[in-house]
Amino acid sequence: MEIDNKKAHELKKDFPIFKNNKGLIYLDNAATSQRPQVVIDSIKDFSEKNNANIQRGLYTLSEKAMKKYNEARKIITKFINANEKEIIFTKNTTEALNLLSYTISEIISKEKDEILLTEMEHHSNLVPWQQLAKRNNMKLKFIKIKDDFTLDLEDAKNKITDKTALVSIVHASNVLGTINPIKEIISLAKEKKALTIIDAAQSASHIKIDVKDLDCDFLAFSGHKLLGPIGIGVLYGKQELLEKLPPFLFGGGMIKKVTYEDSEFADLPEKFEAGTQNISETIALAEAIKYVQEIGLENISKWESELFEYALKKLEELGDIEIYSPKKNNISILSFNPKGIHGHDVASLLNEDNIAIRAGHNCAMPLLEKLNIPSVSRVSLAFYNTFEDIDSLAQSLSKIKTKFN
């Protein structure tokens, strides 16, 4: 279904948060998205009708829970065109990347000692690799950002060498909104036999992801940025690679056979899913994906781009606003600073008009340091946002500017 402003107003009604918070203008979707009724109902429904632990139960209720869980895995698997052994459920993107950073040494060849990231990584795709570099005495390198806030592909070409063990890059920046040319970078990395990891936390709700087409080795995303609940994330990995990795968490559910002395581990994906999983959240995430697929990611991103252009125009009209986002090829994230006004003041005063935005370092301190700004105000859009939301933002910003000048 194609989305226009009228349709966006209708879609907003699917999200009870807006009914319960009258007048809320939610522009912090990159932090967490809101949940449609179907997702909320799914969690309630599971608790009321199907709650049991899975795998261990030899009774009808447990079987019902198991069936729902398996269906959910199928839906989530198909969403990124993987196979069912390649999807590992985690808490979120951060946990998925940590899992990798703790296990990946096993598949890195000895002569490779460089980890390549970009200058625009979220802390979650930086800190775990810093720790791996320290443990294994490896070097960290960063692909540069150009003045237009896009990635410098020439620099990428120079930095991907025979020494590169892995390239881990963000699909779309949570600060700048830049959509990175991951296909090109993945293919450059393949030429040098480097492992490729994609942080799709921001992109999964905006861009169709096809892991076969991308040919990345690993990819991670979070449910709660994709209209799903908090506490469920996904790590995709190519089957042959996941089979070579050692388990990350040990315990129940991830074993085949246990004696007092030793254990034999389960096959994929259970090998990486120790302990009772977030069963109802997983099922709810599948509901969120079904909801997104019904609207269509192409329609979602088309409308969001329209909104983004409108927001950009409105902010430019206000004047004296520094913008830190590329104007094209953007995931619908607009970072800015009205001249002479700190992000925290902007967010506090916008909140007075019931407008929710993020301000601060946005979990990317080195990036802000590089851009030489202490803090940034960030507007991040979703398909349930409307032109009127942007108009309110512009009006409120105009008032704030008057107050400070």
Binding site: H342, G343, H344, D345, G360, S375, F404
Partner: protein, 123 residues
């Protein structure tokens, strides 16, 4: 604007943000310290010249929101000539009395950052 944020951005707070007091660097500082607010990226550096146990001069440098910058101006004005030992006992109430605005939990860190920096400089 009726709730908290509307109230905290009073004219004198905004004036202090635009024209801070004691802003700059003290070349002959006997004590200095840089403090960060990780949450919002505020950065403040304080310089103190302590003579015979008293604050002879104090300056601050850095960047931050209106609340942290106004707080820094008001605190540095107030602690001039104060015995260093007395500063160590100052707490959040001291800052709130100076600011005269209702500061909620989310902005308390901003308001307290300058005092924190001064206390650490003296340690």
């Amino acid at each position: 604007m009726t709730s908290e944020a509307g109230d905290i951005y009073r004219e004198y707070i905004l004036d202090l943000y635009k024209n801070p007091h004691n802003f700059g660097i003290l070349e002959n500082a006997t004590h200095k310290h840089e403090e960060f607010n990780q949450m919002c990226g505020d950065k403040i550096k304080v310089f103190l010249d302590i003579k015979e146990g008293k604050v002879k001069d104090i300056k601050f440098d850095g960047e931050g929101c209106a609340i942290s910058m106004a707080s820094a101006s008001l605190i540095t004005d107030k602690v001039k000539n104060m015995p260093a030992e007395q500063i160590k006992d100052l707490g959040s109430q001291f800052v709130l009395d100076l600011m005269r605005i209702p500061i909620g939990t989310s902005r308390m860190k901003c308001a307290l950052l300058p005092l924190e920096a001064i206390k650490r400089a003296l340690n």
